[in-house]
Symmetry: C2
């Protein structure tokens, strides 16, 4: 167990900055922590130090303006040591899964960002909410809708906000194609074709493990579901789905590739592909009066495309930094989260319907 008493220079600096900025930020940052001292930047604790935390979120948190990496939760002492040195994290802000609940007493931590395998999301979101912390939760939100409901309830009961790590919704390129649907710039949406996949072959990884919340639909599926939903500007009412497994020796428990089709209330149709065996990332839309073609549409960076009236190619320094900065601002300004728990749950409900449709060969009402 790590010591919980030290204070790192970076955290002290943040506190000093917060103090100095008190007067000027009070109006714009009405967020008030327990001791009534408004904060300029929220302290974020990353829970789970796998690839995404290590290679994406931690570096992004060096670029954020409204939040910073204040703490970590890890079950691996060696990782704690590495991160402590690399990011000057004070020992008192370093937790194990056993000491996690003590985070309730740590004013440095405003937000707990759950970056664990999906099967652990529910437990840690609920524990974070009970510890009185706002919660960010990586996608997929959880393995089941039941889990999602419990997570939303826990945050509501404890008066904490909940945001899902849907970085793409913060990307202006995504917002551009959402706008095409909302404003009917090119008329009604008729056909959405969307694919997201990469070649996953890591034996033993949670993505291949059913009990840990693996399977392609939670991982890559959510991207194409989001692509279809956001490009449609409405929610699907009916779904059919199919699994194709080219590597049964590797994908023993979960789906490798899943194809699925949505029928929307307006009549719009989506034909989607999610895969752990195919490198693909595109969104194509046929509207009444035009087209959209994004490739890639949900990458970490470089999302871009063309449509009937021109290009969609908004520069973006760091998607995850924008996501966390905007989510931090929403918390500080007591505004709704851009992608709240309810949004994450919508996708999980669709994922459950997709699995049922693939199992039964029937169209499933969502």
């Amino acid at each position: 167990m790590e010591k919980l008493t030290e204070t790192s220079s970076i955290t002290r600096r943040s506190f000093l900055a917060a103090g100095a900025a008190l007067a000027s930020t009070a109006v714009f940052s009405p967020y008030v922590i327990g001791n009534s001292r408004p904060k300029e930047r929220l302290g974020v604790a990353l829970v789970g130090l796998g690839y995404y935390s290590t290679d994406l979120l931690a570096p992004a948190l060096q670029l954020t303006k409204n939040c910073y990496l204040a703490g970590i939760v890890t079950g691996t002492p060696a990782k704690a040591e590495t991160w402590k040195k690399k990011y000057n994290i004070p020992d008192k802000n370093i937790y194990s899964y056993d000491t996690f609940d003590q985070i309730a007493n740590n004013p440095d931590i405003d937000v707990v960002y759950v970056v664990l395998p999906p099967s652990m999301h529910r437990e840690y979101v609920v524990r974070a909410a009970k510890a009185g912390k706002h919660v960010w939760c990586e996608k997929p939100m959880a393995p089941t809708v039941k889990d999602c409901e419990a997570m939303i309830k826990a945050c509501a009961d404890n008066k904490q906000s909940l945001a899902i790590g849907y970085r793409c919704q913060h990307d202006p390129n995504t917002q551009a194609f959402m706008k095409l649907a909302k404003e009917k710039t090119l008329g009604k949406v008729k056909l959405i074709t969307c694919a997201a996949g990469y070649n996953e072959g890591r034996v033993g990884h949670w993505k291949l493990n059913k009990a840990l919340g693996g399977g392609v639909m939670g991982d890559m599926g959510v991207y194409a579901i989001q692509g279809a939903r956001l490009a449609a500007g409405e929610e699907p009412m009916l779904v059919t789905a199919q699994h194709i497994n080219n590597r049964p020796e590797l994908f023993k428990e979960v789906d490798e590739t899943t194809l699925y089709q949505f029928h929307f209330p307006s009549g719009a149709i989506a034909n989607c592909t999610s895969s752990f065996g195919i490198n693909t990332n595109f969104l194509k839309v046929n509207y009444e009066k035009g087209f959209l073609h994004m490739d890639p549409f949900s990458a970490y960076k470089g999302n871009k495309g063309t449509y009937t009236n021109g290009e969609i190619n908004f520069p973006l320094d760091n998607q995850q930094a924008k996501q966390m900065d905007e989510d931090a601002t929403s918390i500080m300004q007591k505004q709704p989260m851009l992608a709240p728990g309810e949004e994450g749950m919508r996708d999980i409900r669709i994922v459950e319907s997709i699995y049922e449709a693939a199992r039964t060969g029937k169209a499933v009402k969502i």
Copy 2:
């Protein structure tokens, strides 16, 4: 009934040209008609003077070098009159469906091009073959595989060639993406996404009539099936499919939109859309080491695209003219047809499997 005695100037010119070119073309045009006189250009009779014959094939036949519009078969005397004047067709080369079989005695007609509703293809292909004429048949080849088998047999029994009107296979843009699969330029094919559709709403049209061979799969479906098969460079072994009908008041008998998924022996996957309710035409391929994006991929003209190594954008004056010229050359040189009856039948077999898959909700072996 029209007179069968007149000879138009254009036909006379062709005959004179054929005679003049005898010596020089004998080696290269070994095709010999009944009277042992080699022809420089084959005479084509169009059977069925609907939109495709009127707006596409007849104009294209004014551009062809190896064949020409020699005759017509129509049940509408007014159409016969219009065409006779417009194209200088001699009365002796104008047939009704009653007089059709007399075409056997007409040396002007080398090829009978069947452009009727699909339900009539079998009858007229068989009758044309029995009349001793080579046959071109529009897509879809026929409503059933059984029909296709009978058509292939009739042509073989009568020693006549049979080509399906797959204009795209003659398009260098199609040939370019076929080559990517064949030569594995970008590695193995992983995912093919293909869509072909337009907005069909003509009440009473054969495309909406089941008995006449209507339905989206025969009409637009064959394009996306061809797109998937040709881009894969192999034949699908398994298919799933779904119908979506947004206008049940219009599509009472046949499918409006059908989505279908192929699994190929190599592991390649195709996710396809064919629709009478959506304007769409694209082919997207994800290979092991790259991509292809054709839009449009199966239009009458302007097919073009980009792929990892550059552009695919071969100019083409007239797709149908190229198709008919190449098919005429194959006949004259006694070479196999580029898209023979067996190729048309492959697609019809797949269409039958797609309808079965949609009906049962199960994956169907092809």
